[in-house]
Symmetry: C2
Subunit: 131 residues, 2 copies
């Protein structure tokens, strides 16, 4: 297939758009990361989410270290063509680097941000070096 579909995305000046990962079975919003053209192309080719890491300035195959890959079931684009929405199967049930199911574990309650979701697995355990 040709790459015309990639050009339909309204990439920002920095070449990126936000990509929401939503759990395909529960509907829970798991995380938001960023994609550039290459990340989106690789995501489609691989069938697993590949993002652009703004901090590390490189492509990031989600789960490459943690094992928590995201099998992509569907990709949607919004009406302005500048946000992507992915339906994913989250391997291990953990999307967040803190070891929580979702990165959105902090809720506003009476003028305070409160962390309300449990850590399912310690980050030390998730990211421990292979011996």
């Amino acid at each position: 297939m040709n790459d015309n579909w990639l050009s339909k995305v309204n990439w920002a000046a920095d070449g990126l758009v936000p990509a929401i990962a939503q759990d395909a079975s529960t509907g829970r919003v798991l995380m938001v990361a960023w994609m550039d053209r290459e990340a989106l192309k690789r995501t489609v080719e691989l069938g697993e989410a590949v993002y652009w890491s703004r901090s590390r300035k490189k492509l990031w195959h989600k789960g490459e270290e943690s094992g928590h890959t995201q099998r992509v079931r569907e990709i949607r684009l919004d009406c302005d063509s500048d946000v992507l929405l992915l339906q994913v199967e989250q391997d291990g049930g953990i999307a967040c680097h803190t070891g929580r199911a979702s990165c959105f574990f902090t809720r506003l309650e009476n003028g305070q941000w409160v962390e309300i979701d449990a850590v399912l697995k310690s980050p030390d355990e998730i990211y421990r070096k292979k011996s």
Copy 2:
């Protein structure tokens, strides 16, 4: 309440963060817009979503023209403190300016973006001038 909670948000250089509106009852992701500090503050005060319109460069009380306001039931912040997730009750069941339930009505199918969701109400009808 004081405004410390507003300073916990990791506003980007342009003063904005993306805000996802998710239907509180169905879990459907309705739209992504942007908020600045004032938009988030007003959202909390009003109990309805107020965004920053990047195109019009002003605060935008969602539904001010269309009537499709969003009653905000919950606000969450992600682990990097730079994305907001709102659980909303979408008035009229239409979040998109195209008259669709969600702005994410376009799906990638075999290398093509295909509009798959129905228009529930014509934009002409939604935005018609008051006589």
